[in-house]
Amino acid sequence: MIEPQDRPARGFDLAGLAIRRGERLLLRGVVLTLEPGQALTLIGPNGIGKTSLLRVLAGLLPRAAGSLRLDGLDPREEPEAYAARLLYVGHRDGVKPALTVAENLRFWIRLFGAETKGEARALAAFGLARQADLPAAYLSAGQRRRLALTRLAAIPRPVWLLDEPAAGLDADGRGCLADAIAAHRAQSGLVVMASHGELAIPDSRLYRVGESPKAPA
């Protein structure tokens, strides 16, 4: 496995990126550079392509054109090394209701090759310490979201890709998330987040998705 420190952290470098969904050219001409420690908030109306852009950044979707590099790595050429540098928290929480809160987190920690000892701290960071042994089936939607977010605290990765991470969170939960993001950036972590304004990251750059040159009709 490739450790994150194997290559110098240079962040994201996107040029002329285009994304196609089915027959439709969703986005084109996306140009972005993001350096370690920076945060970027993707904004724009529903369906404009925020989630697709995040999934392309995660390497889950192929790009239609352009170049995409994270610390000099291209997800097409070195998918494992590329994926090993990031954490993705999507709309869907990936929580298994039959497992307990702690078992869910422990599975992710083992899956992504992190240290199991970070488990209790990560649960505490998102206010789930008391629910650790509760089956995840009993969690509310907001608590499930918190559980998905504990991955961020338990698995150290330089790049976070968050798709509306604050959806369903209460004020306390948003506070936990804001603290986690601040701590991550203080350690020169990089955050890309799609948001409808539920959560504002201080001095984050804004990117209006879809305002780059329109695709010809």
């Binding site: 869907r92 298994k96 599975f107 083992r110």
Partner: protein
Amino acid sequence: MIRALFALFRRDIDLALKAGGAGFMALAFFAATLTLVPLGIGPEPALLARIAAGMIWVAAALAALLSLERLFQADEEDGSLDLLFLSPLGGIPLVLAKCAAQWLTAGLPIVIAAPLFALMLQLPSEGYVPLMLSLLAGTPAFFLIGALGAALALGVRRGGLLIALIVLPLYVPFLIFGVATVEAALTGVSFWPSFYFLLAGTLIATVLFPLAAAAALRLHLS
């Protein structure tokens, strides 16, 4: 990588056992099908003995098929599949881990229960060893082939039928060589040639189908 593989393998086994999962369902289906056979055919021992191996193999194939619909579907619906693809398990290892866990919870109980039903269906005593060996060697292929069907049927409403249509024709060689292994022993010739064909088929399936299933999953994500 090994740790991640083991983590997924263990989680899938946990889920299968906890949620009254696919494992028990497959065994129950296997048992129910085979219980119907003597009721439908009649209790004549000679007739039952002739069809015993074939019926057990067919029931095992259908029971395996039944357990396959949810192989990737649950992970796809709750977003776990994205995480699995971003993990060190990437494509093929995740398919292998899931198939192994599925075989252990749904396939192995069938293999273990098979002698009981062989007894019920009056299988002659020299058929037991080849029956067990052939099921051990052949049933993993049902799950490996099924993984491709399950991956292709992702996102299709009522995908179970589609899986059956994709997968059942591919089960045929395994069924033929599996039953031939038992038949050979019953007619007094060596059962090893058929058994080796079966084993070779499973090994080929282990190489080819996870590759194809991983590609189908990747295609589904994009």
